[in-house]
C-alpha cells in the first residue's frame, strides 16, 4: 500500500502491529483499539510515536482520554458505503481537538476522496498502482461548497499557513 498525501504517493513508514503480537515492536506502530486498551502503558513507555486504527464500529469516544497522545489516527472504511468514519473524523477534529494526521484506510476510492478531505482527513492509504495525479484531481472537481465542514478549518489553516503537506511532514515519512 502507498499513501496519498496531497497530490503524490509516498511510501508508508508506519507499521500496522499485528493484533496477536505483543506491543514491543518497532517505533511508529499503529495499534488496534483492543491492543491499546490492553497494553496502553507499555505502548506509551516504549513508543516514541503512536498510531491507532478505529474500525468503523469504534467511535473515537472509546479513546477519548488518550486522543492527543496519537500522532496518527487511522479511520477504517471497510466498504466505501460505510460512512460512519466521516462523522468520526469530524468529531476528532471538532469535538476532541485532534490536530495530528487523520488517515483513511480500507476501501478508499477516488470518488470519496473529496468528501473525506472535507471531513478533516489528510492522508489516504491506497493501492500502489494508483495514478496520484489523476486521483488528486478528485479534490478539486467541485470547487464550491454549500456547507461548513472541516475544510473551512482549511481556510483558517491557509490563514495560519499550515498546508496538508506540512501536517503530513510533521511525521517524517
Amino acid at each position: 500500500m502507498a499513501l496519498l498525501v496531497s497530490n503524490r504517493l509516498i511510501d508508508e513508514s508506519w507499521h500496522h502491529l499485528d493484533d496477536k503480537a505483543d506491543s514491543t515492536g518497532t517505533d511508529k506502530n499503529i495499534v488496534s483499539v483492543e491492543q491499546w486498551l490492553r497494553d496502553r502503558d507499555t505502548l506509551i513507555a516504549r513508543s516514541d510515536k503512536l498510531g491507532i486504527i478505529l474500525m468503523s464500529d469504534q467511535p473515537p469516544g472509546l479513546i477519548e482520554a488518550d486522543i492527543k497522545r496519537f500522532d496518527v489516527i487511522c479511520l477504517d472504511f471497510p466498504k466505501f458505503t460505510d460512512g460512519r468514519a466521516y462523522s468520526y473524523a469530524r468529531l476528532l477534529r471538532d469535538k476532541y481537538g485532534f490536530t495530528g494526521e487523520l488517515r483513511a484506510v480500507g476501501n478508499v476510492l477516488r470518488d470519496q476522496l473529496a468528501f473525506m478531505k472535507r471531513c478533516g482527513i489528510d492522508t489516504f492509504e491506497v493501492s500502489d498502482g494508483v495514478d496520484a495525479r489523476d486521483w488528486s484531481t478528485a479534490f478539486s472537481e467541485i470547487s464550491v461548497r454549500y456547507q461548513e465542514a472541516n475544510d473551512n478549518a482549511n481556510v483558517a489553516r491557509q490563514n495560519n499557513s499550515t498546508s496538508d503537506e506540512e501536517i503530513a511532514g510533521n511525521w517524517s515519512y
Binding site: 473525506m116 472537481e141 461548497r145
Partner: protein
C-alpha cells in the same frame, strides 16, 4: 421562484463534468458496475427492468417555465416523448441510454437542473407544501427553509454515505400538506408563546415495508438553530443507524430500538455542542435566501371578478373544474390552479412533452412563470387571476389537462409498478387506470367527495398505500398478481397507517372490491362526512361484511 446565482451554477456544472468522467470510467471498464453503482445512484440513475431510469430533482417541487420546457426537451430528445412526475415532487425518465446521460445532464444544467441526490443513501430532495407561499393559512413560506436545507445537504461531505436514504419534509402551515409525519425528519412550523416562529421536529416517520408515524423530539426549535439541529440528528444517525440489514437501516428503526427519549437526548447533547457555531442561521441569512425568491407582483383587485362568476354560471364543466381543482389564494382575486395528471386511461403522473410545453406556456402567461409539482403527482399553477381562469381552463382542456378530479376518487397515486420497476410484484398503472375509468362520472365523483386511493406495486410502498383512505398493495401469490386492501390511512394531521381489511383480490377482482368499499362508505356515511371520519366512526365491520360476506358469529 428561487433564483440561482453563479455559485449554484458552478456546483451543478462541475457536478455534470464530474459525472461525465465517472460514466467514461465505467464505459471504459475502469470502474466495475459495483463501484459505479453508488456513483450513479448519487446522481439519480437507476438500473430498471428495461433500461436505466433517471430521476431529476425538482427541489420542493418548484419549477420555472424555462425548466419545464427543458423537461419537455429531455423527454423528446432522450426519452420516448414523456416523463413521469413522482410522489417525491420529482420527474423520472424511463428510457435514457447511459452514454447519453452526461449530455442530458448538461442540457439540464443549462437551466440549473440536476439529478444530484435523487437516489442513494444520502439526504434526498427536500419536499414541501405544494401551496407554500400562496396558501391562505401558512405562517411562513416553507420554500425558504426547504432551500436552506437543500443547500446545506447538497454534496454534504459527512452525510453522503448514510445507512440508508434520508427524506426531509417542511410544512409552513398549521394544516400539514407535506406529510411531515411520514418522513425521516418532518419540520412543522409553529409559533411559540412569545410569538416567535420555529419548528416542531419529528423524526423516524416513513412508509416502506415498515410504516411508522414520526415522533416529536423537539416541540419548538428556533429557526436560527435549524441547521445545527439537523446536523446533530444526521450525525447521531450516521454513527448509530444499522448497516447490517438494509431493511432495518432507516432512522425509524434506530429511534424505535433505542427509544425516542434516548434518541432525543443524544441529539440534544450533540446539538448543545455545535449550536451557535458555523451553522447558526442568522436573520440576515434567512433574509438573503428569502430575497432569492422573486415575489409575485400581484395586481390589487378590489372588485368582484364578474367575468369569472359569469363563466362559472354559464359553463357547467368549467364550474365543475373550478369546484374541484381551484383552491383559495392568499391574494384576493387570485386562485391556486391544480392541473390533474390523472385523466381517464392514462398513467398517473405521466405528462407528454407537448403537455409540458403547454403547462410551461400557461405558467409564463398567467402564473408568474412558476409551477409546482405535488406529491400527489399533479402540477400546480400557483397564482392565476380568477379573471383568467376560464381561458386557462380552455387551453388546458385542449391539451387533455383539464380533468376535474383533484382530491377525488380518480385522483389516484400510483407507483410505476411491474410495468417499469424491478422491485414490483404487481402492476399498479393498469389498476389505477381501471379504477379511474370506473369512477369517471363527474356526478358520482362529486357525490363520493374527497377520498385518497393509493396504489403500490410492492411492499416498498412508493405508491403510499399505507396512507390512502383506500390503500392497494400489489402482492405475489404463486406467481399471480394479487392486491391487498388497507383502509383508514391518513398522511396528514390525523396521521394513521391503513389497516389490512382481509384476504387479497385478484387483478380481475380488485376494481370491483374498491367499488364495494366506496359504496359501503356511501351507505354508512353521515351527510358531508369524509371517508376518514366515517372509518373512525364505523370501523372495519361493514366493509368486511360487504367484501367477504357476513362474519360468522
Amino acid at each position: 421562484m428561487y433564483r440561482y446565482d453563479e455559485f449554484d451554477h458552478t456546483i451543478v456544472r462541475e457536478r455534470v463534468d464530474q459525472f461525465r468522467d465517472q460514466v467514461a470510467r465505467r464505459l471504459s471498464g475502469e470502474l466495475t458496475e459495483e463501484e459505479f453503482r453508488p456513483l450513479r445512484l448519487m446522481n439519480g440513475l437507476y438500473l430498471q427492468l428495461h433500461a436505466y431510469m433517471l430521476r431529476v430533482a425538482i427541489p420542493y417541487g418548484t419549477l420555472s417555465s424555462k425548466q419545464m420546457r427543458m423537461l419537455a426537451h429531455i423527454a423528446r430528445r432522450y426519452d420516448r416523448g414523456y416523463g413521469h412526475f413522482t410522489t417525491r415532487q420529482n420527474i423520472q425518465y424511463n428510457w435514457p441510454n447511459l452514454e447519453d446521460v452526461p449530455d442530458l445532464l448538461a442540457d439540464m444544467a443549462s437551466v440549473e437542473m440536476h439529478a444530484i441526490q435523487t437516489s442513494g443513501n444520502c439526504i434526498r430532495n427536500v419536499t414541501a407544501d405544494p401551496y407554500a407561499g400562496v396558501a391562505t393559512d401558512e405562517l411562513e413560506d416553507s420554500r425558504i427553509y426547504a432551500e436552506i436545507i437543500r443547500q446545506w445537504s447538497t454534496l454534504h461531505p459527512e452525510f453522503s454515505f448514510l445507512p440508508r436514504k434520508f427524506k426531509i419534509a417542511v410544512s409552513g402551515a398549521p394544516i400539514d400538506r407535506a406529510a411531515v409525519r411520514f418522513h425521516d425528519i418532518g419540520l412543522q412550523m409553529r409559533q411559540n408563546t412569545r410569538g416567535e416562529l420555529g419548528f416542531g421536529v419529528l423524526v423516524g416517520g416513513g412508509q416502506g415495508r415498515t410504516p411508522v408515524i414520526a415522533q416529536t423530539i423537539k416541540d419548538f426549535l428556533p429557526k436560527q438553530d435549524l441547521l445545527s439541529y439537523l446536523e446533530a440528528i444526521l450525525r447521531v444517525y450516521n454513527m448509530l443507524g444499522r448497516r447490517d440489514n438494509i431493511y432495518k437501516a432507516r432512522i425509524k428503526f434506530l429511534v424505535n430500538e433505542i427509544g425516542r427519549d434516548k434518541f432525543a437526548a443524544l441529539v440534544e447533547e450533540e446539538w448543545e455542542r455545535i449550536r451557535g457555531g458555523a451553522l447558526d442561521l442568522h436573520r440576515d441569512e434567512i433574509n438573503r435566501i428569502r430575497a432569492y425568491f422573486r415575489p409575485a407582483l400581484y395586481e390589487l383587485i378590489t372588485e368582484q371578478e364578474s367575468a369569472y362568476d359569469t363563466a362559472r354560471r354559464s359553463d357547467r364543466e368549467f364550474d365543475r373544474w373550478c369546484a374541484s381543482n381551484i383552491l383559495p389564494h392568499k391574494q384576493p382575486g387570485y386562485g391556486i390552479v391544480n392541473i390533474s395528471l390523472k385523466p381517464v386511461g392514462k398513467a398517473p403522473g405521466d405528462a407528454t412533452a407537448d403537455q409540458m410545453d403547454v403547462i410551461a406556456e400557461l405558467a409564463e402567461l398567467y402564473s408568474f412563470d412558476e409551477l409546482r409539482v405535488t406529491h400527489k403527482q399533479n402540477v400546480v399553477l400557483g397564482h392565476v387571476r380568477l379573471a383568467d381562469l376560464h381561458s386557462v381552463w380552455q387551453q388546458l382542456d385542449a391539451a387533455m389537462l383539464a380533468t376535474a378530479n383533484i382530491g377525488l376518487a380518480s385522483d389516484i397515486i400510483a407507483c410505476p409498478g411491474l410495468d417499469y420497476c424491478n422491485l414490483a410484484n404487481a402492476r399498479s398503472i393498469p389498476v389505477a387506470q381501471k379504477i379511474n375509468e370506473r369512477f369517471s362520472d363527474p356526478e358520482q365523483l362529486a357525490r363520493i367527495g374527497q377520498i385518497r386511493i393509493n396504489i403500490s406495486g410492492c411492499i416498498n410502498a412508493c405508491g403510499h398505500h399505507h396512507v390512502g383512505d383506500i390503500g392497494i398493495l400489489g402482492v405475489d401469490r404463486r406467481g399471480e398478481e394479487y392486491y391487498q386492501i388497507t383502509l383508514g390511512g391518513d398522511p396528514a394531521d390525523n396521521a394513521a397507517i391503513g389497516e389490512s381489511i382481509g384476504p387479497s383480490f385478484s387483478y380481475d377482482e380488485i376494481v370491483d372490491a374498491v367499488e364495494t368499499v366506496i359504496s359501503t362508505f356511501e351507505g354508512v356515511r353521515e351527510t358531508g362526512k369524509t371517508f376518514a371520519n366515517t372509518w373512525r366512526r364505523v370501523g372495519a365491520t361493514p366493509f368486511k361484511e360487504n367484501l367477504y360476506g357476513p362474519t360468522r358469529k
